[in-house]
């Protein structure tokens, strides 16, 4: 994790990640994803049926850059569960296909979608 002097959005990102059990940083919104990878991530989360928050990085340049430094991960989308970085859409898909993402949500006692 990076310190806030180098990453002005770091404190805001930490607050978002800490304040939501499941949060996806993405391009666009769950209803209107603006990128195929974000769309795939949303499809997986919807299929899992868990409650999640989303942050549209296209609306906030500081977060768009800051999130990459925060997790040392160069791409978006990025999924966080209970404060931990889980991965991007490829890892989400691999974990989903292996049943590991379902297990992670169960183990983390994540709320089902309303």
């Amino acid at each position: 994790m990076s310190d806030t002097s180098e990453n002005p959005a770091g404190a805001r990102i930490a607050e978002i990640v800490g304040g939501n059990d499941v949060v996806l940083f993405m391009k666009g919104t769950p209803l209107f994803p603006q990128c195929g990878f974000s769309s795939r991530a949303i499809a997986i989360l919807d299929h899992l049926g868990v409650e999640y928050a989303s942050v549209d990085v296209l609306q906030d340049m500081e977060i768009r850059q800051g999130i990459k430094a925060f997790s040392d991960w160069p791409t978006i989308p990025q999924l966080y569960v209970k404060g931990e970085f889980v991965g991007g859409s490829d890892i989400m898909m691999e974990m989903f296909e292996a049943g590991e993402l379902q297990q992670l949500m169960t183990d983390s006692a994540v709320k089902p979608a309303a």
Binding site: K68, W73, P74, T75, G87, G88, D90, E94
Partner: protein, 77 residues
Amino acid sequence: MGMAADDISAMIKAALPDAEVTITDLAGDGDHYAAHVVSAQFAGKSRVAQHQLVYKALGGRMGGELHALQLTTAVPN
């Protein structure tokens, strides 16, 4: 501007010499690729750490020049 499949493969192999790299040009447009990388150096590492090794090999191009690279990693059998 995208990158050629051979360049992607060469950069990964420069950092992970034992790697078997399979690149698929998904859309035939030289811009949307899938890479499957198999390397013994992934052993014992989390998926995130495995992908980070590949991203580091690509030297900051991921997310920039290389917008759309679907990545899967594995340890040799």
